[in-house]
Symmetry: C2
Subunit: 216 residues, 2 copies
């Protein structure tokens, strides 16, 4: 396997996008692609692509291009997609259920093993074959099952206490959709999706564009 | 109003987070806060905070600290949250409905005016008082209503054609949750939320952490 440690953060940040495009090429049965063709598709320069992908060793030969499947597989390994990640979702509202229903996650190794909520009305309802359990059952569940990733789609007032409980029970990564910053030890990975902040960025760009074009 | 154009991109990217913390302080009836106290809350250095917030003119005086409400309001204006943004959602699945149900968006000026889907089973079902309409009715709707932002929570195979139609009909901003990059003209603002890529980043950080700690 390629040694991931040598690769810069900047390249790493671009990997999921390469992975997505290579996946689409695979679906279209494309076996190889030149950096120029990939450049046109992805709207980054061919030299950026060559530089980025050169990190992954001896492919991308002159006159041949990149082997799509090999590159896809190698990038997948670097992203940790070649192993199974047992995952639970806390909060079975619309967002939690939307995430539970993404079949693509499962294809990439993110295996949903439990869904939890506080709302008794939801108890026992199955989402993709997994019955929603009550949050009160979670500590026991964590003792009996290996869970690596917890997805937090709870209201922000519950998110912090839940994060503490998850960490106490050995969960190592939190995908946080709650609108708070979590306070976690160094050995716990947190990835935040702050939807409001994304919408505000859009709104900022919109106002900014208008301001610039009205002023002219 | 503060002149936003002088402020660097790096500061702008941090504004939604300031806005969130200031909003929380307001809810707690905090009238003023020192850069040191804000620093402890937000886990950035006080000097970073002073530098960032100095962009917004003459507040943050020695011995007084920042006026929370004033700063919150000014940052809100820069983010374009002082105006009403009529918004529609295309795709009334779980994710679309989750976004439709976020009352916080409406408080910040993002006013939901329509929800559309292709699934006839959903037609007429109300989400927060707004009845789901069929996508076929959208072109007419856009002619009769002012819509600024469209939220795309459609499958990726429909997202591109929908984006084209929206742009033809004058929509100026797209909040894109579909797993594709949209091809849009310069005067259309696109903000992407690629959830799979966020999850892959989490998975990468997890593998990386393990590798480093197993190797030691």
């Amino acid at each position: 396997m390629v040694e991931a440690k040598e690769i810069s953060r900047a390249v790493i940040k671009r990997l999921p996008r390469y992975y997505r495009y290579l996946g689409e090429l695979l679906e279209e049965n494309v076996e190889r692609i030149s950096s120029n063709d990939l450049s046109k598709k992805m709207k980054v320069t061919a030299s950026q692509i060559r530089q980025d992908l050169n990190n992954f060793g001896g492919f991308g030969q002159q006159g041949y291009g990149y082997n799509v499947k090999y590159l896809y597989t190698e990038i997948g390994k670097i992203l940790g997609l070649d192993t199974r990640h047992p995952m639970i979702i806390l909060g079975a509202g619309n967002l939690g259920q939307a995430l539970a229903n993404y079949v693509d996650f499962e294809k990439r190794g993110f295996k949903l093993v439990g869904i939890f909520d506080v709302n008794p009305v939801l108890e026992g309802i199955a989402v993709r074959g997994i019955e929603i359990q009550m949050l009160s059952e979670l500590p026991l569940f964590l003792k009996e099952h290996l869970v690596e990733i917890a997805v937090l789609t709870l209201p922000k007032n519950r998110a912090r206490e839940m994060a503490d409980m998850l960490i106490e029970n050995g969960v190592k990564a939190i995908w946080n959709f709650a609108h708070v910053d979590l306070d976690t030890p160094d050995d716990v990975i947190v990835e935040n999706v702050h939807l409001s902040e994304s919408l505000m960025t859009l709104s900022y760009n919109l106002s900014q564009y208008r301001q610039e074009h009205v002023e002219k």
